[in-house]
């Protein structure tokens, strides 16, 4: 296992609501716990991952995540079981959306 | 230890236990009182027939001898691994056995388990582990599975498991580990008859195994977690 920590200061978007957990620590998947915590405007992310040696990849994924959302006073905690960056980004966005707008997005008019 | 030797040591006052296809049943004299005895021998795998036979013996005791203490003698290599058992719902037969033990307890029967040889996972969970208190002989084997098989399934090297097992009773087989974790109330080193009489006298119907595991340093989280859930230490809308 490897632990990675990221901190992005001066976010602009605060969260509202209770902590949420999105995703499952299944194979190739991860869980994202997102909480509104006073952090002096920062967003802190801690990752526990089973895939060792991908710190640079995680860093890039997190920078893009911050560029998308610019969260303020947000703590994000991740347990990862080898998810690909695409799945990580998807879960992160789902986690943020679960706190920013409580209504789930429409899944489209399928039969 | 074979069951006859065990019975001689446990019941100096005499017994009428009989074995039929590795199923033990009968009664014995303990401290001047009659005790019902059921169990298995020969490391027999617990299949549907023997699970049902044990359950039948327990219900019969409840019907015919209200309040008579029950001793369950455990020696099994685990549940029987056959398609037919699964097809016929072996889990239902096991659950039935467990429920019969539970009913007996609630109707005032003291129920004690004793692992005198082997106890493995599925065969143990509805016998010794469902009793009000469970004990073992020191040379007994108790486990879910051996470390080599565990290493295969968890993909953790066996050496690492062996190393961890030294300080952490959670992985390793053996009655001492089950004792530390609260799964066993005690290990009977000598004078089995006296130990049995004392166990019957002390037995409480309450499930205190989490507390035992914590007191003995083998299972540190179970009790606090269950307590926190029960006391609502940290509740919020989901």
């Amino acid at each position: 296992m490897e632990t990675l920590q990221f901190r992005f200061g001066q976010g602009s978007r605060p969260l509202a609501g209770n902590a949420q957990l999105v995703g499952v620590v299944g194979s190739g998947n991860l869980e994202v716990l997102i909480e509104a915590v006073p952090l002096d405007g920062a967003c802190e992310i801690e990752v526990h991952t089973a895939a060792v040696g991908f710190g640079a990849t995680w860093g890039a994924v997190m920078e893009d995540f911050h560029a998308r959302w610019s969260l303020a006073d947000a703590r994000i905690s991740i347990n990862d079981n080898g998810a690909t960056p695409a799945v990580v980004s998807l879960r992160l966005d789902q986690a943020v959306e679960s706190l920013i707008s409580p209504a789930a997005p429409s899944t489209g008019g399928t039969p | 230890m074979d069951w006859q030797t065990l019975a001689t040591q446990l019941f100096p006052g005499g017994h009428d236990i009989v074995e039929r296809d590795n199923f033990l049943s009968g009664s014995a004299q303990v401290d001047g009182k009659r005790v019902a005895v059921i169990g298995t021998t020969g490391h027999v795998p617990i299949g549907i027939e023997i699970a049902l036979a044990q359950a039948t013996a327990i219900l019969k005791t409840v019907q015919e001898h209200p309040g008579r203490p029950i001793l369950i003698l455990v020696d099994t290599q685990g549940q029987r691994l056959r398609h037919r058992d699964e097809m016929l719902g072996i889990n239902s037969y096991m659950a039935h056995l467990g429920k019969c033990v539970d009913l007996a307890r609630r109707k005032g029967h003291t129920v004690i388990g004793l692992v005198y040889d082997q106890a493995l996972s599925g065969g143990f969970i509805t016998s010794g582990l469902i009793a009000s208190a469970c004990y073992a002989l020191p040379q007994a084997t108790i486990r879910v599975m051996g470390l080599p098989a565990m290493a295969r399934i968890t993909k953790v090297p066996e050496e690492r498991l062996t190393e961890l097992a030294r300080d952490n009773p959670v992985f390793a087989p053996g009655p001492e580990n089950y004792l530390r974790m609260g799964g066993l109330h005690g290990i009977w080193e000598q004078n089995l008859a006296q130990e049995l009489a004392q166990a019957l006298a002390e037995c409480s119907p309450e499930d205190r195994r989490m507390a035992l595991g914590r007191e003995r340093g083998g299972r540190m989280l179970a009790q606090p977690v269950a307590d926190a859930v029960r006391a609502g230490g940290d509740v919020r809308a989901a």
């Binding site: 895939a51 690909t84 960056p85 695409a86 899944t107 489209g108 008019g109 399928t110 | -």
Partner: protein, 554 residues
């Protein structure tokens, strides 16, 4: 040699072989029908050392009884055989080399035996002539690799040797024709010998011997994909494919690779594509095995025709009930033909879309991995521009126009070849690499060229969860490289991109992100799949599809 015999050497040799067989088998030979217990005697009689022997191994049916019989030959009597196999998938296919019965191999695809094949090649027990595409190998059967003896599989035979191949005709016509008309000997293993065949797939006068195998030939459900295993990322990519490529080019005639990515597309046709109003406009004609995942699209009226390389287990009753869509004989079972379907996929389809394991910065893609000599089967034919094509279509012309825009050349179309991959595979293995593993494999195995499945100059689009790179619109090698890096996500190749240049390519529509296509990623859920599990496929088929046992959860 002079005189009459000069031009009939092969015929005379054939007669000698048949005579040897007749005397060796005696009463065990009844017309063309050989007692299964005497199969080794037959092979000893008709084979000669050094013969080119074609053993029918397909994606579906396998001449496994004859393949096993070959391994029982005495290498003192029969050796140094030159084996021709389109699919080398059973252990016995390699046992003949291990035992010294065969020495040389020409083949197309070796999937499950790829590791052992590489090892045998290293020991020198097996000498690889070349790795071909299917069509290429069939072509050589008629030029310089004509079999002396062909060992084929069929469902049934009658006593005259006529063969019924059932829905898995596959390679049999190509093999039998090349062998029979060049004085070779065709031996067929059949599941049953009957008085009257449902239909004749191979005429009896092409066939030398027929043997009823003790057990039916082995068959593998190779093209069945359980929709339950399709991920939301694959749904997103399927949406991008439909909106960004199928709709964009109005692709009516196509071939899909095997895999969950393309299965997701098939399952989104009746839902997402229908919502986009694309029914009747895209995906009408297919060169494709009867993929169970295509059932909902067929039922929704999307699909007008499907011609197949081979069949798929469990689809028999469904196909029988949909003769307007599939190629079905008067008996009600499908007639497949790998050679024709490969030709159809190459010349008559406007697009191939499929997955791969690795893509390099030039767009070359390969599924070759170290220590395994696998080959690519039909993919290179599907995934290559048909330079001999002359008939136009909207999709073909648009692709050609994009490729040649601004250049003063004569108008001409181009086939669309789409590689669809997630940027990372399992265990964080990147799909985009600086150098294909194929180079190292070529060095290890002493191959003349690295085994590339689809060459970069044939690839027109690369589709990942990050976006679609349209390589047709790139005007320089540098642009191509940045377009590829631009959809390579967080792989080292992707992170090595020139951000400014990639943004510029995006402005020009060379790279299109999901949002550029108007796709809301949050819509990409499994709810969009027309069937979400195997039972959903059975329901869609009206109970006609009967999935193999291993795919059921009921």
């Amino acid at each position: 040699m002079t005189g009459e015999g000069r031009w009939t050497v092969q015929q005379s040799n054939r007669s000698a072989r048949l005579d040897r067989a007749a005397s060796a088998l005696g009463g065990a030979l009844n017309g063309k029908v050989v007692d299964a217990a005497r199969i080794v005697d037959l092979l000893h009689a008709v084979l000669e050392p050094g013969d080119r022997v074609c053993l029918e191994g397909n994606n579906q049916k396998q001449a496994d009884f004859l393949g096993k019989a070959l391994t029982r030959l005495d290498p003192q009597r029969v050796n140094n055989l030159h084996m021709l196999l389109s699919v080398l998938s059973l252990p016995e296919h390699l046992d003949v080399f291990d035992k010294g019965i065969a020495g040389r191999l020409d083949f197309s695809f070796s999937g499950p035996q790829a590791g052992r094949l590489a090892k045998l090649a290293q020991t020198g027990k097996l000498n690889i002539g070349a790795i071909h595409t299917y069509l290429e190998l069939f072509a050589r059967y008629f030029i310089d690799l004509t079999p002396r003896v062909a060992l084929v599989a069929a469902e049934m035979a009658d006593r005259e040797g006529n063969l019924y191949t059932g829905p898995n005709t596959e390679d049999t016509p190509a093999i039998a024709e090349a062998t029979a008309f060049k004085s070779g000997i065709v031996i067929a293993q059949v599941n049953r010998i009957v008085d009257k065949l449902p239909r004749v797939d191979i005429p009896g006068d092409w066939v030398g011997y027929v043997v009823q195998s003790p057990t039916p030939y082995y068959i593998e459900p190779l093209f069945t994909r359980d929709p339950a295993q399709i991920s939301e990322i694959q749904v997103l990519m399927a949406m991008m494919a439909i909106k960004g490529i199928y709709a964009e080019y109005q692709i009516e005639r196509l071939n899909h690779g095997i895999g969950f990515d393309t299965a997701a597309i098939e399952l989104l046709l009746p839902t997402y594509a229908a919502e986009l109003g694309l029914k009747g406009k895209i995906a009408r004609h297919w060169a494709l095995n009867p993929h169970p995942a295509l059932i909902p699209a067929i039922e929704a009226g999307f699909v007008e025709s499907v011609h197949s390389f081979g069949s798929e287990l469990g689809m028999e009753n469904y196909i029988r009930a949909r003769p307007d869509v599939f190629f079905v004989g008067p008996d009600g079972s499908m007639r497949s033909n790998r050679a024709f379907s490969q030709a159809a996929g190459h010349y008559a389809c406007d697009m191939f879309i499929g997955s791969t394991l690795q893509i390099d910065l030039h767009g070359n893609s390969s599924t070759a991995t170290l220590g395994r000599i696998a080959g690519f089967g039909g993919a290179p034919n599907m995934g290559a521009d048909a330079r001999g094509r002359r008939h136009p279509s909207a999709a073909w012309l648009k692709a050609g126009q994009q490729a040649r825009e601004g250049r003063n050349t004569i108008p001409r179309g181009q086939k669309l070849v789409v590689q669809m991959v997630e940027t990372f595979r399992e265990h964080m293995a990147p799909a985009f690499v600086e150098r294909l593993d194929a180079w190292q494999l070529a060095e290890q195995a002493g191959m003349a060229i690295p085994p590339v499945m689809i060459y970069g100059d044939d690839v027109t689009h690369i589709l990942t969860e990050e976006g679609i790179a349209n390589l047709l619109l790139c005007r320089s090698d540098e642009e191509r490289e940045q377009a590829i890096r631009g959809v390579a996500g967080y792989t080292p190749v992707g992170m090595g991109r020139d951000k400014r240049m990639v943004e510029n390519l995006r402005d020009r529509g060379i790279i299109r992100r999901p949002e550029d296509l108007g796709i809301d990623k949050r819509m990409a859920t499994r709810d969009l799949l027309a069937a979400r599990n195997m039972k959903g496929l059975v329901r869609a088929s009206g109970g006609l599809y009967d999935p193999p046992k291993r795919f059921r959860n009921w």
